[in-house]
Amino acid sequence: MHGLINRAIERFVRDTYGRETWLAIVQPLDLGLTEFEAMMIYDEAITRRVLDKAAEVLDRPQTDLLEDIGTYLVSHPNVEALRRLLRFGGMTFEEFLHSLDDLPERARLAVSDLQLPRLELRGHTRASYSLAVRAGPRDIAGFGYVIMGLLRTMADDYGALVFLDHKGARDGTEIIAIELLEAAFADGRDFSLGAGLAG
């Protein structure tokens, strides 16, 4: 598993619940480490164990936790870079939805060994979509919940009003139903193209 994913879980727990909670999760697992390196590769089993233990320590269903991680990834100031990169997907939430198919490829352009589940958007009407999240054998199960948290927050970011529903998983494919109720419901967050460039 790519360290970026483990690091994301770690940052979420530490920024949301504090370092003590993180140590309470990771120390009993005896991994020989208490911090993940974003640019290293770890065994998949480690990610699974950390998520299981996190759900146990925080006493929350793992699906909730995964969705919160998705929300965290695009809303917390500590990980602002990811939100910006996603905003490059399009000027409106609709355009953004249509850019999701390219997301794993975009991720690989940035970090060549980062593997993400395949995403396929299907439009039923102009306001009704479904997103298939196809996990490979090495991806974490329930990745669709992360995507759901991420979509919900990105909709806020764009100022769109959406209704999302996780339809469950079959054969490693999760389906998320997306109803776009209003494309310009509120003022979205500011996105200036030049803001992320150093200098």
Binding site: M91, A110, G194
Partner: protein, 339 residues
């Protein structure tokens, strides 16, 4: 094709184009160009009042510009911050109804200045044609910058861990002095930089007796005290190495004066002979020291220097404990066997 739809088409496909008339004046500018100058829409200016033609170097008349049709133009905005632009000029076809006869269309892009341009002119997705790779380029730069930053941090942490591991590998854990592995390293570096040095081979005397009568705890305490004294009696860039149980090597870079070395050896021995209190007992030791100076040798070889320091040490020991001897050739290599 009527004029209005042609303009609309060009604005969509090439939002940074200008249409020039036969005198080289701008009669229409794509919507993004209005963002590039404080006064807005450049229509009415001469093209070369908007931009400077950096390359190819040529004249400034319209016929001379038209002669550059199809060539890659290196342009620069005349207004600050003088952003660089790439351009290509196409003469207007006669009777196409697209623009005046003798005129031209010049399409422009930011090229590599894109990063500064989006910031300087506060550009958005809408300022680029949907087929323009500008957005992908901006995405890539940001993504790669973030990834590089993460890698850079990892490198720094790994480097820190490497330094710590090396330090540990070169340190004698009991005394905190350097160990034998470090000695080779120190000597190799002096040899590489051709720095002269003095080398002291120092054996503790009566240390075995302390160990035997007062136990290992006392022995360890004495070794730690010896280490502290050696640190106190030397300079910061001198190297103190514990090479074995009660054996030490001290290296003094740039020390070539024999009398100065003798002084240091004498003072060291005197301080090591001060009784060391441990749990109500007094530990009494001394030290024998053999010295060589790299400056004594025409072609200093590390092996030879170490060997001669050994010979000097045995000479010091056979002269009675608590002595120091400077190596000289008369000592030969008939050194007594070490006891």
């Amino acid at each position: 094709m009527d004029q209005i739809s042609a303009t609309h088409m060009m604005d969509t496909l090439c939002p940074m184009h200008v249409v020039l008339n036969a005198t080289g004046h701008i009669i229409h500018a794509g919507p993004t160009l209005a963002k590039l100058r404080p006064e807005g829409d450049p229509t009415g200016l001469r093209f070369l009042e908007l931009v400077e033609l950096k390359r190819p170097r040529t004249g400034t008349t319209m016929p001379e510009l038209l002669a550059l049709a199809g060539v890659k133009l290196h342009l620069q905005l005349r207004d600050a911050p003088r952003t660089g632009l790439k351009g290509v000029l196409v003469p207007l076809p006669e009777g196409a109804g697209f623009g005046p006869e003798g005129g031209a269309v010049v399409n422009m892009s930011f090229g590599i200045s894109i990063l500064d341009a989006v910031r300087d002119f506060d550009l958005t997705n809408a300022d680029f044609a949907p087929t323009d790779l500008a957005m992908e380029m901006l995405y890539l730069v940001e993504a790669k910058t973030a990834a590089m930053e993460a890698s850079r941090k990892l490198n720094l942490r790994l480097q820190g861990a490497k330094v710590a591991a090396e330090e540990q590998a070169y340190t004698d854990t009991l005394t905190g002095l350097k160990n034998r592995r470090a000695l080779d390293h120190v000597l190799a570096r002096l040899s590489e930089t051709e720095t002269d040095f003095a080398l002291m081979n120092c054996d503790l005397d009566f240390f075995k007796a302390v160990n035997d009568t007062l136990g290992h705890a006392a022995g360890d305490f004495v070794l730690q005290t010896v280490a502290r004294i050696m640190v106190e009696e030397t300079r910061g860039d001198d190297a103190i190495v514990r090479t074995g149980g009660d054996e030490f090597v001290l290296i003094f870079p740039r020390l070539i004066d024999p009398s100065r070395v003798s002084e240091i050896a004498l003072r060291l021995i005197r301080r090591l002979e001060e009784p060391i209190p441990f749990n109500g007992d007094m530990c009494r030791i001394s030290a024998s020291i053999g010295v060589t100076l790299s400056a004594q040798y025409k072609n200093p070889s590390l092996d030879r220097i170490m060997e001669d320091a050994d010979i000097a040490l045995y000479a010091a020991k056979s002269a009675g404990r608590g002595q120091h001897k400077m190596f000289d050739a008369t000592m030969g290599d008939g050194a007594p066997q070490k006891t």
